[in-house]
């Protein structure tokens, strides 16, 4: 993985690291076969560096972790969901640009 600032999370860790985490968390639901997901990879890395210490940026591989995507009704990827204090603040589906992703993250900051 390109960036150390982006953490990979699994179904098991979701509750503790995302819902109960201190910081707001943007979760990027992706899969290796998804072109647009890979295309936004570099932007996610950049955002992780820019928001370090303020927002946690995490990625979840939906092939390996079916439970969490199912729980949030995800049937299209990439889907990025912004969590704060255990709740969904907002979400975006599709390979959008950095401006839109930054706007999304700023809703929780």
């Amino acid at each position: 993985m390109a960036s150390d600032n982006v953490i990979q999370i699994s179904d098991n860790e979701f509750e503790s690291k995302v819902l109960q985490g201190d910081l707001p968390c943007l979760v990027d639901f992706w899969a290796p076969w998804c072109g647009p997901c890979k295309a936004i990879g570099p932007v996610i890395d950049e955002l992780a560096a820019e928001f370090e210490g303020r927002v946690l940026i995490a990625k979840m591989n939906v092939d390996d972790n079916p439970a969490t995507p199912g729980k949030y009704g995800i049937r299209a990827i990439p889907t990025l969901i912004l969590f704060k204090n255990g709740d969904v603040v907002d979400q975006i589906t599709g390979a959008v640009g950095k401006t839109q992703l930054t706007e999304l993250i700023n809703k929780a900051v």
Binding site: P36, D63, A76, T99
Partner: protein, 312 residues
Amino acid sequence: MDKADYQLVIIGGGPAGLTAGLYAARARLNTVLVEKTTLGGQVLITHWVDNYPGVVDGAAGYDLIEKWTAHARRFGLETRSANVVSLDLKNSIKILNLENGDRITARAVIICTGGSPGKLNVPGEKEFTGKGVSYCATCDGPFYKGREIAVVGGGNTAIQEAVHLTRFAAKVTVIHRRGELRATKVVQEKAFADERIEFILNAEVEEIRGGPDGVEELRLRHRDGSVSSLAVTGVFILIGVVPNNEILPRDALELDEYGFIITDTEMRTALPGVFAAGDIRSKNFRQIVTAAGEGATAELSAEHYLANMDEQ
């Protein structure tokens, strides 16, 4: 003449834009390619490309775009992630207004904004988008493992993706409003040979119905006037492309009845110094290779235009 920020600005980073960008970089033109999401355009959501000359064994859409991007970067193409919200193309200095308030000026512009998946515009379509209605088989296919789904369309995209979807779905029903498919014969053959694919021709989707868990059935109207119901949990609408023309000055540019930009064979639009390439152009056939060819032609046309302007 007043100075512009750039000699050339390319709007859109799909195959047309990236090829124009590659050529512009090699021509050492002061250029920037502006893309609002990620580079690649519709190729990014194409699972597999088997008809691009030179790519003998085929390639995933994403991998093809990686190569194109690397190629353009090798010659130093500058790209910018930004959303153009309005254009002023009337004068010799063209103005592009960006969403964040910035402004870029250029002496020539190539419009490569491309197309987006067309919609059926039937009841239920909007409500169930993301919950069973999809416009991208590559993106969403895996969410339908073992299910029965439908594909609407009869061209290459629809039939190719129908075949791709059989890796996940238990059954794929292709619905097309004509009596014959439009897809390339080789593609059709593959689909006909697959037991998991069924065809309902001469029929249109009248309504998409479902419940809290998403899509449950499609109501179809057949050519003879009869109506039937098809039980599916997913429907992939792959009927063709609509132009991304929201920001274009429609009164100044010549557009066809569907909203695509009309150009001559050198990619020149009705406005001097303004060119168009790729799916945004008015034409019958939209392919990756034609977009690339048009991107190169547009850049060469733009170079010619700029050289002539300098001489005056």
